[in-house]
Amino acid sequence: MKSNPVMILGLTLFAGWLAMAPARAEEAPANCEVPPYLLTSESPLPKVEAAVVGEKRLEILVVGSRSSSITASEASAYPGRLQAMLKEALPKVAVNVSVELQVKKTAEEVAGGLVKLVELKKPTLVIWQTGTYDAIRSIDPDDFRAGVTEGVVALRNAGVDVVLMNLQYSPRTETMISAPPYLDNMRVVAQEHNVPLFDRFAIMRHWSDAGDFDLTSTSHGVDLAKRVHDCIGRALSKFVLDVAHVNPAQQN
């Protein structure tokens, strides 16, 4: 067979494509760097700082919807991972993370019950994940903003620190669920009330763009969910420590 340069080039490309295909199918171990600007906030967490430095105990309550959990694998959802990472970073501090799932409730509906939850659990910090259900139901963005505001104010008055967490980045449902109004309004409330916002949407989008995760995967297994939640827990623990100005090295 005569060697034809075009054919050789074609075969090389084809071989390269073949070599790439399996690499894409079985994903690389979770490499989920987050750009530093997504892990900082100008808004403080004074109570967290005091609790870690002074009392050496930190009680965190996560209030969230279904996307704060993984069905049939609760421990590997991000709240559990957050607890593990914080314990690792702050070995001398008693860290406890509990979760209150408020499934199929709008921000307004959840806001009304937040104070009761705080009285029950007595946390230092409440991480409030919201927005997804409102976006699915296409609640009026103004009503959504009012609901989030009401919740944030109630939590503040109850004497706890607050972190807001927004929606997941979900490329498959992008044409069906309109996330931007809810993302924007959460940002507005965070700014108005000086509350740190953990931008889960931007972080997951960054991972998707960087090729860390294939978020369009049709797989029915929980493997992807577990790896994503592990990375969210990791990012969230960094975020909380950074915003509260807690330097793990000094606490050890």
């Binding site: 296409s138 997941q168 449902t173 940002r187 090729g211 992807l224």
Partner: protein
């Protein structure tokens, strides 16, 4: 807009005739440019708006950086609605003067029906897509997001609500707005025939009252129309007003250097504000006071900041792009102009192509290269389709005019 450019180009005829029309109160209050002059700038920018809407409906990619929403407050929707008002007034305003109120209304209603059918067609495609995803995609990571499929459980309610324009999936909000605006066009034209400036003032008053009393149209299952017609009508009526002689009367204001510098200053300020959205590292530069006053910039209710941004863009555009700019006839801008001339068809095609492109992108995780390819292919398909429609209408009209005198064709004139 036609007369603005004439004015800027130094012709005083337009101004004189506008002045004469204003002075002569017995004549109808509206003036229309000669039928033969087709305002290519309108087609150009409407075509551009259609391309931008298509690119904006795809997931963000390289081309998204060329869409104007990244450089200021307003986006392609404003251009589309304004130019639609302008061209609709041009076509149906003439019909109203020549054939009377009833005939013009009948023609407008025929157009409304076409837009409605187009909307239902797009809804069917959306149903197909969402049903496919519902049956094939079951990733535990997104079990909550899959709740969006719940409406498939009650198709009886959902489909009826969709036909009533109350249930509208994402990215399908423009046509219902357009339908409502067109429904009120006969009334607007009739009022304009009486007093153009009073009509515009009424429209502005409705806009102000909407903001004050928080008026809206409710949607299904809850929430409101994404584009509030009570607010967006201002832009549409402003387009009508410009087409019916308002632009001519504004020409002095538009050609003043003070206006130009105010517009430039506003556009630059808007650009820097937008920059802080894309580079959150810069957000510390924004005064907190300003942020609290300014945000959120409502798209639903056509925020004043967005309206002003569109006005500034339009003022700068008519100033620096004269009506007789030879480039408008160039072959390179031909695809844009053709798309703008068949806006309804190309708009629907664009929404469909965005669905299809989205689908391909999620099925084949192909990366930036494929993404770019899909965007460009979509634009080529839209242009090709516009060319085919244009060719077909041209030959059909030719046959028609052999039989009888040519009647103004709303579609051909891009009527709405």
């Amino acid at each position: 807009m036609s007369s603005i450019a004439d004015q800027i180009a130094g012709s005083s005829v337009a101004e004189a005739s506008a002045r004469a029309a204003a002075a002569d109160t017995s004549a109808p209050a509206i003036t229309l440019p000669a039928a033969a002059d087709r305002e290519l700038r309108l087609d150009l920018f409407r075509g551009l708006a259609l391309w931008l809407i298509f690119v904006d409906h795809l997931p963000p990619n390289f081309l998204t950086w060329f869409t104007i929403r990244n450089y200021g407050f307003s986006d392609a929707t404003e251009i589309f609605i304004f130019i639609s008002g302008y061209t609709a007034a041009f076509v149906y305003g003439r019909a109203m003067l020549e054939a009377g109120f009833v005939v013009a209304t009948a023609r407008i209603l025929r157009r409304v029906w076409q837009i409605y059918v187009a909307h239902v067609f797009l809804f069917t495609i959306f149903l197909a897509e969402i049903s496919y995803v519902a049956t094939n995609f079951n990733n535990p990571l997104y079990s909550e997001e899959m709740g969006i499929m719940d409406f498939l459980k009650q198709p009886d309610v959902t489909i009826i609500q969709a036909l009533l324009l109350r249930f509208r999936p994402v990215n399908m909000d423009v046509l219902p707005l357009y339908i409502v605006l067109m429904l009120f066009l006969p009334l607007v034209l009739w009022l304009m025939k009486w007093r153009t400036d009073v009509t515009l003032a009424l429209s502005a008053a409705l806009y102000a009252l909407t903001w004050h009393f928080d008026w809206y149209l409710s949607a299904y299952p809850n929430g409101t129309w994404f584009f509030n017609p009570f607010a967006w009508q201002l832009l549409f009526v402003f387009g009508v007003w410009c087409a019916l002689g308002g632009a001519a009367r504004m020409s002095r204001l538009l050609s003043s250097p003070i206006t130009m510098w105010i517009c430039f200053a506003y556009l630059v300020a808007a650009f820097f504000v937008t920059l802080t959205w894309h580079l959150p590292q810069l957000s510390f530069l924004m005064p907190k006071r300003l942020e609290q006053w300014m945000y959120p910039i409502s798209k639903t209710d056509l925020d004043v900041l967005r309206f002003a941004h569109f006005l500034a863009l339009a003022a700068i555009t008519v100033r620096f792009l004269p009506r007789d700019w030879p480039g408008l006839k160039s072959i390179w801008l031909r695809p844009l102009i053709l798309c703008g001339q068949h806006s309804l068809e190309i708009f629907c095609l664009g929404v469909f192509l965005a669905f299809a492109g989205h689908f391909i992108l999620t099925e084949i995780s192909g990366g930036a290269g494929l993404h770019f390819l899909i965007s460009v292919t979509g634009i080529v398909i839209m242009s090709g389709m516009a060319w085919v429609i244009s060719w077909y209408k041209h030959s059909a009209d030719k046959n028609l005019s052999k039989k009888k005198g040519a009647v103004g064709n709303a579609d051909m004139a891009g009527g709405g």
